[in-house]
């Protein structure tokens, strides 16, 4: 079977890979690039655990073919922190106990970063609707929302 050769940027690094034509970007990230931070919870775009940014746009990597990444810039959970300096969304998730099992957390953090990049001061309703595609079965979302608002405030430069 012929594999497709793809060149793209992943977390700022130029990356090449070969993928089967039907292989999803999520499978490429996890199985071929060793980036297992993106999770598969459903494989059908219903849980958001595989959320990544493609050219800055939030998508489910399970709903994208690896071949489609050609020439694109992909950011995964592994690319959100700057070295050992956590992104405010990451540190506020920790501070607010916004994770229990942690499986949905990478997708939620990527989705929250995308939210706050687009809308620095979301209302609770806006944040809840934006994140509706990220299922969390542990927390009831309460502490996640608290972390989102705290991260937004921190990114706006307001005292937490």
């Amino acid at each position: 079977m012929a594999k497709t050769h793809v060149t793209c940027t992943v977390n700022g690094e130029e990356t090449e890979f070969l993928c089967e034509p039907q292989q999803t970007m999520l499978d490429v990230l996890r199985d071929d690039l060793g980036l297992t931070g993106s999770k598969e919870g459903c494989g059908s775009g219903d849980c958001g655990a595989c959320s990544v940014l493609v050219d800055g746009r939030l998508v489910c990597s399970c709903l994208m073919l690896g071949s489609e990444a050609e020439g694109k810039e992909v950011t995964t959970i592994e690319g959100i922190a700057q070295g050992d300096h956590l992104h405010p969304v990451q540190s506020q998730f920790l501070k607010h106990a916004a994770l229990q099992c942690g499986f949905c957390t990478p997708g939620l953090i990527v989705a929250t970063k995308a939210l706050l990049d687009a809308n620095p001061n979301p209302t609770d309703e806006e944040a809840r609707y934006w994140l509706a595609g990220n299922l969390c079965r542990c927390t009831g979302y309460d502490k996640i929302l608290a972390a989102v608002h705290a991260a937004a405030a921190e990114m706006r430069g307001e005292a937490a």
Binding site: E20, Q22, Q23, D27, R30, D31, L35, T36, G37, S38, K39, E40, G41, C42, G43, S44, D46, C47, A49, T76, I77, E78, I80, A81, L86, Q90, S91, F93, L94, K95, H96, A97, L99, Q100, C101, G102, F103, C104, T105, P106, I109, E125, A127, R128, Y129, L131, A132, G133, N134, L135, C136, R137, C138, T139, G140, Y141, D142, K143, I144, L145
Partner: protein, 758 residues
């Protein structure tokens, strides 16, 4: 032992530090079951039955085996035929023979999604193609999905060797009813005769799945010398070890299980599905095998909790005194016996001091996946019924639902229907706490209603192990045997830090594998903070004792003359002030010269887990034209004993309440006429999303448990018990329609409103 009344003296317990495993989880570095890898691993896939009930006439694996890249195919023929034997390994009843046949069908398939074969190949895509190439010839048999239909005469029989247990005389004909059980006290007839008002109704609940976001996953290797290694996410590495050893005929000493991070369980990961298959494939192929379920496999093939039919009758005097309470609880077990009917029977009246009461349970098999534990197994089902009836009765009498519950509330000294006499319980406190909550002062608008319900869960103790080692620099490593499903590493380290008098950051807590820590019963029953916490406290107290001994040696005084406080040894009594205090680091640095490494283990079979009670109040708004229910406000109060890490205690309550909201409103298993699951995806199995919910307000009531060093009680399960009835009661308040069937989805609610002319 610490004085639990001295809450103000606590420095670590009750604070909210960042969890020690947190950074890995926010940067994507934490290793969950599906992230683990072994050198040379290949990939497994399963072949699942498309039929609800069928005889397996023939399995032809030759085409699959001939495919390039396929390394092994296994069927039931590759597993020992296990004899019937009760297992006490997981949560709830289980039989090794049933479990063996559940993970690999033998002779018959009993539900859509039942595994009949598994393959391993050099890539996932080859494995999936090979699974499709396995040919299975079935003789399709009549099937039965509903528990009441399964109980009826002439229903298709799943097993010809099940004779209803618990009835006299012993039946001679096989049945789908595996067992009957009964709890009774007092005189029911007299109780109902004394009642002024009686409510009697039948309720129905749908099976719901735990719906953890992480599908089951493992990687396993079976070596040529018979030694096996499994890395997987589960609620108990020792549970996985025990089941795999038994089902494959391996010595326990040859089985090592390393717990991966677990992406949610809620009871659903208290048994094995993939691990024995991966081991069998590994044995046959000579390669480590990785297996990961996809979501549809999780829904079709793993255990949801039971659906059921519950008949309730409760009588009360006009002054609000309950005179008698009776419930018959019929639960689906799935394809093999073992529904949570026991706890369902024991919990549903446990909130009340009732003189005359009875609960009767029936465990019924049908062509559904075998049920697994789900958060307070059984209690939410029976309590939906009894707490709905309680609401109706309160209205009949004309009493406020909270006052009605207060009037009958179980207190210290109340003898429960299931036997024990309660001590140190905080049910009344949970009711009092919601009464004054601001949410209950909010005014309700049109189409809005408020509902109240309470819930009970036993909480359990049991066997746990921990070990604590002092490092050369005075930091510590804490190893426990409990998989951390919601932040328990943090609470374990906090309890040890409290005893040691040090900053919690100086303790690195980890979850040990089966070869590095003593036996620990699985993470379930809300037992970890209580039981494993006790093992941790035991190890910490022992380390303190050793530290005092080392200081005594350095100072050449008696150990009794050394006091430990704030992380340092101080000379006490006659010696007070004679020596400079020695910190943990000072003593650690001198460990080699004072007797070697300072380590201690804690090993307990913890008893006296304090039972938990909770009361939830919910406000809803019903769209009268569509039947859509919006949750406006939610208040959950619970007796938690003592909150070790309050943020994670609140998180348990919020998460449990929201799972209950999903159970109440939308979650269900839908089967088509052929008995095939029709909604095995997160698209159509509708768990609550962020925009469905308001803030979930929690009230932590602390009535300490004297059996725990810091007063902790289990907290994880109680919060899923009250929501369904609370919401049904709120819907009644809003619409005047009494919903008796879950889920209260828009089509059902609208149909009920139309039927009632509302």
């Amino acid at each position: 032992m610490n004085d639990i009344s001295m809450k103000d003296a606590l420095k670590v317990v009750g604070t909210r530090p960042v969890r020690p495993d947190g950074v890995d989880k926010v940067v994507g570095r934490a290793q969950f079951g599906g992230d683990a890898a072994m050198p040379g691993q290949i990939f497994g896939a399963t072949v699942r039955s498309p039929h609800a009930h069928a005889r397996i006439k023939r399995i032809d694996t030759s085409k699959a085996e001939a495919m390039k890249g396929v390394k092994a195919v296994v069927t039931a023929a590759d597993f020992p035929d296990i004899a019937s034997e009760e297992a006490f390994v997981g949560e709830g009843p289980m039989n090794f023979r049933d479990l063996s046949r559940n993970l690999m069908a033998r002779d018959k398939v009993l539900y859509d999604g039942h595994v009949v074969a598994a393959v391993a190949a050099t890539s996932n895509s080859i494995a999936r193609a090979a699974a499709e190439a396995v040919e299975v010839e079935y003789e399709v048999l009549p099937h039965v999905i509903d528990e009441m239909e399964a109980m009826a005469d002439g229903a298709p029989l799943l097993h010809d060797d099940i004779f209803t247990g618990g009835v006299e005389p012993k039946p001679t004909k096989p049945s789908n009813v595996a067992k009957r059980m009964e709890f009774v006290k007092g005189d029911l007839d007299a109780g109902f005769a004394a009642a002024d008002k009686i409510v009697e109704r039948t309720y129905k609940t749908a099976p719901v799945h735990q719906a953890y976001i992480e599908p089951h996953a493992c990687v396993a290797s079976y070596n040529a010398d018979g030694q096996c290694l499994v890395i997987c996410s589960s609620q108990g590495q020792f549970m996985v070890r025990a089941y795999c050893a038994k089902l494959l005929g391996i010595d326990i000493s040859d089985m090592r299980v390393i717990p991966a991070e677990i992406g949610g369980g809620f009871g659903g990961k208290t048994l094995v599905y993939l691990e024995p298959l991966a081991l069998a494939l590994s044995k046959k192929s000579g390669r480590p095998v990785r297996m990961v379920m996809d979501r549809v496999d999780v829904f079709r093939g793993t255990g949801p909790t039971s659906g059921g039919t519950i008949k309730v009758k409760i009588g009360a005097k006009n002054d609000g005194t309950i005179t008698a309470a009776d419930a018959e609880i019929i639960l689906q077990a799935g394809a093999y016996p073992g529904s949570p009917m026991g706890p369902a029977c024991m919990t549903c009246f446990a909130m009340y001091d009732v003189e005359n009461a009875r609960t009767v349970g029936f465990d019924v098999v049908s062509n559904r996946p075998k049920v697994a534990a789900y958060r307070a197994p059984g209690a939410p089902i029976s309590t939906f019924a009894t707490e709905s009836a309680m609401d109706e009765l309160a209205r009949e009498i004309g009493m406020d639902p909270i006052e009605f519950r207060l009037k009958n509330a179980a207190k210290d000294g109340t003898k429960a229907l299931y036997g024990p006499t309660f001590q140190n319980i905080g049910y009344v406190e949970t009711l009092e706490a919601v009464k004054t909550h601001p949410n209950l002062q909010a005014k309700l608008g049109p189409n809005q209603g408020r509902g109240v319900a309470s819930g009970f869960w036993f909480n359990i103790g049991g066997e746990s192990s921990a070990s604590l080692a002092v490092n050369e620099d005075g930091t510590l490593v804490l190893v426990s045997g409990s998989p951390d499903i919601g932040g328990s590493r943090a609470s374990m380290a906090m309890m040890a830090a409290e005893i040691l008098g040090i900053d919690v950051q100086r303790i690195r807590p980890i979850v040990g594998d089966t070869a590095s820590v003593g036996f620990t019963f699985l993470t379930g029953g809300s037992r970890v903070t209580f039981a494993t916490g006790m093992a941790v406290c035991e190890s910490a107290n022992e380390v303190v004792k050793q530290l005092r001994g080392r200081a005594a040696k350095i100072w050449e005084i008696d150990e009794e003359a050394v006091e430990w406080r704030d992380g340092a040894a101080y000379p006490a009594g006659d010696n007070a002030g004679k020596f400079e205090p020695l910190t943990l680091a000072d003593i650690a640095a001198k460990a080699a010269r004072t007797g070697g490494p300072i380590t201690a283990k804690g090993a307990v079979n913890a008893q006296g887990a304090g039972p938990g009670f909770g009361t939830h109040v919910v406000d809803v708004e019903v769209d009268p034209e569509t039947g859509h229910v919006k949750i406006l406000r939610y208040t959950a109060s619970q007796d938690v004993g003592r909150a070790i890490h309050p943020a994670y205690v609140e998180g348990q309550i919020q998460g449990g309440a929201v799972q209950g909201i999903g159970w109440a409103l939308n979650e269900e298993y839908i089967y088509d006429k052929d008995g095939r699951l029709d909604n095995g995806s997160f698209l159509d199995y509708r768990v609550p999303v962020a925009s469905d919910l308001p803030q979930i307000d929690t009230v932590l009531v602390e009535v300490p448990n004297p059996r725990h060093p810091f007063g902790a009680k289990g907290v994880g399960e109680v919060p899923i018990v009250p929501p369904m009835a609370a919401i049904a009661n709120a819907i009644y308040d809003a619409t005047g329609v009494r919903m008796t069937s879950l889920p209260m989805s828009p089509p059902k609610l609208l149909a009920a409103m139309d039927a009632a002319g509302k």
